[in-house]
């Protein structure tokens, strides 16, 4: 009998040895600074990512033309040591610093930016933020690919075959010419062909070097008698306002004066990428730590999926003497409670976003915490109406619903230090005064409902509030809004919870009545909140399409005088807030928890914090940069 148990015992000890071995593989020297980077990053390719966890990594391993100041997010020299703006505000000339290098030691030049920006705009790259570069002349058209083309345009044609001697993943051979006509393939009826379906069922007649040639976009090389197959057909990139006249000069030409352009071009998505690296390895292999070539203060040492990304100080970075930490760990810790536990037990030094529940506790802590200081953020939580659906197409109904809300109750019950918002644009943007929506006024709300034909809520179809699962707060707020609307207006309200992916699908297809949404500003300017509601903006998702509003946003884009431009934007917000396709609920506050010995960390409107400015000061006795502006708590208040 004993002998029967022996193999089991052997298996058991072998298994345990295996466990010990696996665990040992994960053993590491501790980093100089570790923080909770929330979730796993989507990629290390700056062009294709979106989101804050990605931003923290991309901004550390790459450096864009400018750096954004950690305190006020204004543009400071980055790879460009200086820049000049033309008188009409439309041409920016960037002087690339001569000591800018790639992590492989090669110099970084203006051509690298030309390559980066072209790739960023190329529709096949799939850049989520490509729209941020549409301010550049021709950029919008270029990024729309074949469907943006018109007869007479200068075009570039990418063939399937690569030029002699090109790298494995380089672009195909390029031809340039003038587009003469776009013709539908024979055999398709009008109804079958979607508008703008140019890449699939159309051929293009192009004059190349004086010779008329017909091209057709195909997935794979597939030669034909009628036309020549090609991979893509785009606007000729020389029509786009990006030029590198010499290795140390880059010129960007804008459609209209865009005062926030330097800040925008410092956004992580516009970080330079290395052409040779990408063309050698292809996507996504070039982003693997063993292949990637970067230019920022840090390099990726390794990426352990779901565990961490380890960053080490780059020996080739031009400003390496100013970088303090040698090793930084960006930990993947999904659960906010776990992040907090690991912070409290000293495993990490920064939690970027504590949960609302913990935030309440931290704010009520006595004595006050030396490491928690919520600051206003450029982000608005709002409810959106589907204005294409009755009765929400009636502005009186929308106004009534907006006026029957009690934001103070919402924040007291579901919030954690947020500020009630009555404007779409959050406060804090220099030179801009946010314009409020109709005030909270229940009597007026009831009167408006009666005027719209629903006295006392009679005959008003049931309202359904759509929100996404995953955050308890959304549910609490939806329930509160339901209670307030039912009580104040006498209508019936229901709620619908959808999982994130389904929710996005529903909102983008306008398959809702009232939906919970939020918007985080991309740059410190009111435009980032207002152009959202232009009729043709993909993120509008309310069905709101007001010609007067669209004109105002366009007029603001053309205006060269800064003060006048702000006036126009304010007028636009006034219009938006009187039409109320959206009801602002609250302005977000940051919820960073930062170790008191960490310096070089400031609260800012975008809640975005570069890692290379951080340093540790163990001798520090007073408040650190982060806590400097903390308001001493009043007795008995939260």
């Amino acid at each position: 009998m004993q002998s029967r148990l022996l193999p089991l015992l052997f298996l058991l000890s072998a298994g345990l040895a295996g466990v010990a071995w696996i665990v040992n593989q994960g053993r590491l020297e501790p980093a100089d600074f570790a923080f909770a980077n929330e979730t796993e990053v989507q990629s290390l390719d700056p062009a294709v990512v979106s989101g804050q966890p990605e931003g923290r990594i991309i901004w550390s391993i790459y450096e864009a033309l400018v750096q954004l100041d950690p305190e006020d997010r204004s543009a400071k020299p980055g790879v460009a040591e200086s820049w000049e703006v033309s008188e009409d505000g439309r041409t920016y000339t960037w002087a690339i610093r001569k000591d800018a290098k790639w992590s492989n030691g090669e110099p970084l030049t203006a051509e690298d930016f030309e390559y980066t920006f072209r790739r960023f705009l190329d529709p096949t790259t799939g850049a989520k933020y490509a729209q941020a570069m549409w301010y550049v002349t021709g950029a919008r058209k270029y990024s729309q690919g074949a469907s943006g083309l018109k007869v007479g345009d200068a075009v570039e044609i990418e063939l399937h075959q690569r030029p002699e001697g090109a790298l494995t993943h380089a672009r195909g051979q390029m031809l340039r010419g003038e587009l003469l006509s776009i013709d539908r393939d024979t055999g398709y009826e009008d109804a079958e062909v979607e508008a703008k379906d140019y890449t699939r069922r159309h051929s293009f007649l192009v004059a190349v070097d004086g010779e008329e040639r017909r091209f057709h976009v195909t997935v794979e090389p597939s030669p034909s008698e009628e036309w020549q197959d090609c991979k893509a057909i785009l606007l000729d990139f020389s029509e786009v306002g990006i030029r590198a006249p010499n290795p140390y000069t880059l010129i960007t030409e804008l459609e209209s004066p865009t005062p926030f352009w330097p800040e925008l071009i410092g956004f992580y998505a516009m970080s330079p990428v290395n052409k040779t690296c990408i063309e050698t390895h292809g996507s996504p292999d070039w982003t693997y730590p063993e292949n990637i070539v970067t230019n920022g203060p840090y390099e990726v040492q390794f990426r352990r999926i779901r565990d961490r990304i380890r960053l080490v100080k780059s020996p080739t970075y031009w400003n390496r003497d100013k970088v303090s930490f040698n090793v930084i760990d960006a930990m993947v810790i999904e659960q906010t409670v776990t992040q907090f536990n690991m912070y409290e037990t000293g495993q990490i030094d920064w939690v970027p976003k504590v949960s609302p529940l913990i935030s309440r506790e931290l704010m009520a802590a006595d004595p006050p915490r030396p490491d928690y200081n919520p600051g206003v953020q450029l982000a608005t939580y709002f409810y959106a109406f589907n204005v294409t659906r009755p009765p929400y197409n009636d502005v009186r109904v929308r106004r009534a619903l907006a006026m029957a809300l009690d934001r103070d109750e919402i924040i007291a019950t579901a919030g954690a230090g947020e500020m009630p918002a009555r404007t779409m644009v959050p406060p804090g943007i220099p030179g801009y005064t946010p314009q409020p929506c109709p005030p909270e006024d229940i009597e007026e709300a009831q009167r408006l409902m009666a005027e719209a034909g629903y006295p006392g809520g009679e005959g008003f179809a049931r309202v359904q509030i759509l929100y996404n699962s995953g955050f308890e707060q959304h549910e609490t707020i939806a329930e509160l809004v339901r209670k307030q609307w039912e009580k104040n207006l006498g209508i019936t309200v229901s709620t619908r919870k959808e999982e994130w992916g389904t929710f996005l699908n529903s909102t983008s297809r306008l398959n809702f009545e009232v939906a919970r949404r939020a918007w985080i500003g991309d740059y410190t300017d009111a435009n980032t909140f207002l152009d959202l509601f232009e009729g043709d903006n993909g993120n509008n998702q309310t069905g709101f399409d007001n010609p007067e509003y669209n004109d105002l946003i366009k007029a603001a884009g053309r205006e060269t005088d800064a003060a006048k431009r702000q006036e126009i934007l304010m007028e636009a917000e006034r219009l938006l807030m009187s039409e109320v396709p959206v009801v602002p609920i609250y302005t977000y506050v940051s919820r960073s928890l930062v170790r008191p010995s960490i310096q070089g960390f400031w609260n800012n409107l975008q809640d975005s914090h570069p890692l290379h400015t951080l340093y540790r000061d163990d001798e520090l006795t007073g408040p650190n940069n982060f806590m400097e502006d903390a308001v001493p708590r009043k007795e008995g208040s939260r």
């Binding site: 053993r27 074949a146 994130w500």
Partner: protein, 306 residues
């Protein structure tokens, strides 16, 4: 035995194919897609991305590409993480397996000891307390157990770290929390099995021959009493692996569990499908191993006949 294994392997191929078919249909039936996000993408970009991932092909062609991919060890590329699904599995599976193995070791040592103890001391206070604790252990979900374990062993008595991966100490708490309900099950099963064996003739004979009670229990009764426990192992492995997303995320452990859940939310088609296939293979082979181990533990089992 070899014929038995062969038959089961053929069965596995069929099961995998059916699982593939169902999950492929489900993945494609869910509303939304991998390229939908807070920021709307232009139609041109979505078309380019779909082309890049081969999602513009007819569904049957996509299914065929997947199957041939799996056969050659190519699991495709995660749409959301920009890495090969194979790399995700190669990095995550050992971690999940280590955690699961520790949890099972914990469940078996603790459960078996408690079960045998309460069987031998049937009707006493020890029996009562052990079985009551087991009942509670079964009833409590592991995130509740984890909450208490963290409060006690991280904050009250700082013995273990709050989370992370890289040392054996970081593995103790999660393994305990993951294993706790299984320990409780094992205790109850072992107790029943032991009581059953203890009342059988061969045990009485052994006692009559003058062997000590201790040696009768450990040498003669235990191997047979363990049979029901071993047959519990199959489903337990299943539970430990699929039950780990919660524990892995509470303790920030870089296992596969999180991907399993998140890939569905993200509509990361290749990741979700790849993980389903890996889990199916894993569960099927675990059950096969359990069946094989019967032959070792119980001489009455003859695999040639089954």
């Amino acid at each position: 035995m070899i014929a038995f294994i062969f038959r089961r392997l053929v069965g596995m191929a069929v099961v995998l194919l059916v699982v593939f078919g169902i999950s492929f249909a489900l993945v494609n039936a869910v509303p939304g897609g991998p390229f939908q996000g807070e920021r709307a993408l232009s139609a041109e970009t979505i078309a380019a991305l779909e082309k890049q991932h081969g999602l513009d092909r007819p569904l049957l062609e996509q299914a065929w590409n997947r199957i041939t991919g799996y056969l050659t060890g190519d699991f495709g590329e995660s749409i959301k993480l920009g890495v090969d699904v194979k790399d995700v599995i190669l990095q995550g599976l050992p971690v999940s397996a280590a955690l699961g193995a520790m949890a099972l070791v914990f469940a078996f040592t603790l459960g078996l000891t408690a079960g045998i103890l309460s069987a031998v001391r049937r009707g006493t206070g020890t029996d009562f307390w052990l079985m009551s604790t087991a009942a509670v252990g079964i009833a409590l979900p592991n995130f509740v157990v984890a909450g208490f374990a963290i409060l006690i062993f991280v904050f009250a008595i700082p013995l273990f770290p709050a989370g992370g991966w890289g040392t054996l100490r970081q593995l103790v708490l999660p393994a305990m929390c993951l294993g706790a309900p299984y320990a409780a099950y094992v205790a109850r099963i072992a107790r029943t099995g032991m009581l059953d064996v203890l009342s059988q003739d061969h045990v009485r004979t052994a006692r009559a021959k003058g062997l000590s009670y201790r040696s009768v229990v450990l040498k003669h009764a235990m191997p047979t009493a363990m049979l029901p426990v071993v047959s519990f192992l199959g489903p337990a492995v299943a539970g430990v692996l699929t039950g780990s997303p919660v524990v892995e995320s509470i303790f920030a452990i870089p296992g596969l569990g999180w991907h399993f859940v998140q890939s569905a939310f993200n509509r990361d088609y290749f990741m979700a499908m790849g993980l389903v296939m890996v889990y199916t293979t894993l569960l099927y082979s675990m059950n096969l191993l359990v069946d094989l181990s019967y032959a070792v533990l119980d001489p009455r089992v003859d695999l040639r006949e089954t």
